[in-house]
């Protein structure tokens, strides 16, 4: 473990954080974990929705201060 790539998409608005995540998801290997940092409230609900829809594994989503930390494992 410990292999968690952090994607800093703070201070960008919808669908910026999602598109950032998708860019890195394309490059990641199956089983890898990515952590998305976002300050966009819309993305906080929209990104987990995308993860569910495309079939990746949602690990956690928590707000630390003003920043959402969304962790996802590439499942396919």
């Amino acid at each position: 473990m410990g292999q968690c790539k952090v994607i800093d998409a703070r201070n960008t608005f919808c669908p910026g954080p999602l598109m950032e995540l998708i860019t890195y998801m394309k490059q990641a290997k199956v089983g890898e974990t990515l952590e998305l940092l976002s300050t966009d409230q819309g993305s906080a609900t929209d990104v987990p929705e995308w993860i569910k829809k495309v079939g990746h594994e949602m690990i956690s989503s928590e707000k630390v201060g003003e920043v959402w930390h969304i962790k996802v494992r590439k499942a396919k």
Partner: protein, 129 residues
């Protein structure tokens, strides 16, 4: 189940191009089959070298310009690259603007007429901006 979404962009204003780009990028990245047809005032923004700073229609466009909203050109590019969305220029608009395919951004597909577009769009959900 992948949906089929066809988007027509005719307005050259920031808000409409932005909304169309958001639909295109998110839908394509979610696995939907997306085709975007660009005509009239929308197409000129995709001539190579165009800055992509379309005029605002109202307050919201100005607000988007001042904040970290991803530029619509970037979103359309991501739709094509990440989600295989097709970006098609209207052949009539190209004739009137006197531009060739080579003069458009590289993500663009072949000049397309309305008959072809309507035929390809059959059965899909059509959104117009």
């Amino acid at each position: 189940m992948a949906r089929k979404i066809d988007i027509v962009c005719v307005s050259g204003t920031r808000e409409k191009l932005q909304m169309a780009a958001m639909f295109a990028s998110v839908a394509a990245a979610t696995g939907d089959t997306v085709t975007v047809f660009f005509s009239m005032n929308a197409l000129k923004h995709f001539v190579k070298g165009a800055a992509g700073d379309a005029p605002s229609e109202g307050e919201f466009g100005t607000l988007m310009n001042q904040h970290g909203v991803p530029p619509f050109k970037q979103l359309f590019k991501q739709a094509a690259e990440l989600g295989d969305a097709k970006l098609l220029p209207c052949s009539m608009a190209m004739d009137l603007l006197k531009i060739t395919r080579d003069e458009l951004d590289p993500e663009f597909g072949p000049p397309t007429g309305l008959t072809r577009f309507l035929s390809d769009a059959e059965g899909g959900q059509l959104l117009t901006f």
